[in-house]
């Protein structure tokens, strides 16, 4: 019976470890929040500054949207704790973002190819 008892204990432990949603919570320090908040404000100043300069071609739009993407990444990773989250959360966010990109790409591809050659 000794063996069976050990096995049960082992199974219980294994179940605990295999639990896909079990994840040690990580408390993010205020220093990180302060640093990220400050960086976001700096990027806001940068994007407004860049919009006041007349950049060649479509560069104004490219710069503004690139800065917005950087800001979004910082918010998602640190304020929304994704950097410190479980694989389940990371996969959910990643899959959602990918699906969103696919939808936008397909819509845009359809749009620009509707009148192909008739511009």
């Amino acid at each position: 019976m000794q063996g069976a008892g050990n096995r049960e204990a082992f199974m219980a432990e294994a179940k605990h470890h295999d639990e896909p949603t079990l994840h040690e919570e990580h408390i993010v320090s205020p220093t990180v929040y302060l640093l990220i908040g400050g960086t976001l404000l700096v990027f806001t100043a940068l994007t407004v500054g860049a919009s006041l300069i007349d950049l060649p071609g479509d560069l104004n739009a490219v710069v503004a949207l690139a800065i917005a993407c950087i800001k979004m990444t910082l918010v998602v990773l640190f304020f929304m704790h994704v950097k410190y989250s479980s694989k389940l959360t990371k996969l959910t966010v990643g899959a959602g973002f990918l699906t969103f990109c696919v939808l936008i790409m397909m819509t845009m591809t359809d749009y620009i190819s509707r009148a192909w050659g008739r511009w």
Binding site: L22, V28, P30, Y33, L41, T44, D54, A68, F100
Partner: protein
């Protein structure tokens, strides 16, 4: 022994069998598992929100390409200072909300309430600036369907004397303003809902909730608040910035 007594005894036995905090539901093994499940569900909800706002962004991109001069002139009529101020307010409010989550995690009730109040104040400040802008657009006759007039886009403005659109294209600024009001309006609705939820959470925190290990509601509200911030992070350049020099 009738079945009711048995049921009551079983429930009682279940409670005495494993001591657990009152907020831990029976179908979860641990507080961490419950919290993780709630986070998972919250992210699924936020993904539907991304698709919703994404549709509006997509429409904006296509129509901007379509009626380009109208979108540029429409964008010129917005106040850059108001957009910048609102972006700053929202980013600081995201920081204070992150600090509120930290206060709940470290179980400091006064800090939790303080950061929540700061977030409410900053969020309300954002809405006030937005209301001022909307009022300004009403005064300028830029509201499609209610009081729109293309007159302001025909002869150039003080800041942009070259904004002289044909009457046909000046009418098309309505497409810009329709999307502008739809996007900023839906965003502001999310802010109003956010501030209201935060007021309820604050009231509950005042009663001693969320500083006893039950962090999930505060954390998931934080996710919602940061998501609304991200929407604005993209609305700001698209509506205010990218057409400044076109």
């Amino acid at each position: 022994m009738d079945s009711h007594t048995v049921a009551a005894q079983t429930a009682e036995a279940a409670h005495s069998e494993h001591e657990h905090p009152a907020f831990l539901k029976h179908h979860f093994e641990s507080v961490e598992q419950q919290r993780e499940s709630a986070t998972f569900g919250m992210w699924l909800f936020l993904l539907t929100e991304i698709m919703f706002f994404g549709g509006l962004f997509c429409a904006y991109l296509i129509f901007r390409n379509w009626y380009y001069p109208a979108f540029v002139a429409g964008s010129h009529s917005l106040h850059l200072w108001a957009g910048t101020l609102n972006t700053t307010l929202l980013i600081i409010s995201s920081f204070t909300m992150a600090m509120a989550v930290h206060a709940a995690e470290t179980r400091v009730r006064k800090a939790l309430m303080g950061w929540m109040i700061a977030t409410i104040v900053l969020g309300s400040g954002f809405l006030c600036v937005k209301a001022y802008e909307w009022h300004d657009e009403w005064v300028e006759h830029h509201v499609p369907g209610l009081n729109f007039s293309p007159a302001g886009f025909l002869h150039g403005t003080k800041d942009y004397p070259d904004d002289k659109l044909s009457l046909d294209m000046a009418e098309k600024t309505q497409v810009y303003f329709s999307l502008y009001f739809a996007m900023t309006g839906m965003h502001a609705l999310h802010m109003v809902i956010g501030v209201s939820l935060l007021a309820i959470l604050l009231f509950q925190a005042y009663g001693g909730k969320y500083v006893e290990g039950h962090v999930a509601p505060i954390e998931n509200f934080g996710l919602y608040w940061h998501f609304v911030d991200i929407v604005w992070i993209f609305l700001f350049p698209l509506l205010y910035l990218i057409s400044r020099h076109q």
